[in-house]
Symmetry: C2
Subunit: 133 residues, 2 copies
């Protein structure tokens, strides 16, 4: 699979894919004899992982660390497990914050919709919220 095909499949730029490889977010990609990237299933699986975890806000540094450990072989299984668990906490923590924001948003939207329907800003029970918009 060419870099272009991978780009299109995952809606990501070629520059980003090359950047990921250069800094070690993914291991080195398989090449043609001429030196052109030819993504195999395994390469693509790494790309998929990288995108998935970056989408979840994981820092590039953490992904690099994981790939480095992976390349050191079986002796790093413990370290990798720990890293994955750390990542898990990281994501759970972040998701908690998303839920709080969502709750706040739903509350605000509800009030604004009442204001729209009635044509007036009718809230009176929550001066603080009224003041802060």
């Amino acid at each position: 699979m060419t870099i272009k095909e991978v780009c299109e499949k995952y809606d990501i730029t070629a520059d980003t894919l090359r950047y990921y490889e250069r800094v070690g977010v993914i291991p080195e990609v398989t090449r043609t004899p001429g030196g052109i990237r030819d993504y195999q299933e395994t390469d693509i699986a790494w790309v998929e992982n990288a995108i998935c975890f970056r989408d979840a806000g994981m820092p590039v540094e953490m992904l690099i660390e994981y790939v480095k450990l992976y390349q050191e072989g079986d002796s790093t299984i413990d370290a990798r497990t720990n890293l994955l668990k750390e990542a898990r906490e990281y994501i759970l923590e972040a998701r908690k914050k998303y839920d709080i924001a969502l709750k706040k948003l739903d509350y605000k939207i509800g009030r604004y919709e009442i204001a729209q329907k009635t044509g007036v800003l009718t809230w009176t029970c929550d001066e603080d919220d009224k003041k802060k918009g």
Copy 2:
């Protein structure tokens, strides 16, 4: 409340608080006659909102837009409601990605823990996952 107290309360730097005010993520904060920031309840409510939505990955630009609309008065209620709904979609979308990453992590952690317990990398049913680490 002084800037220092607000910093400590929300675990955020004074620089960030001043930055938020400067670029309009929050409206201008109440000052003492000498020009020193003296956060009132309303100011703090804005700070809380800013932190909450930034924590949920909302871009600063979006918060600035909201504050701008808020300051333009009641005529912008529709626009504000739309902005809030857009923010809601944004966060829901992001959270979906967090859930996907979490699922992937849980799967990997499960397999690594088996490897740790048995002392061997025993997975055989999923060559692809094995290869990609």
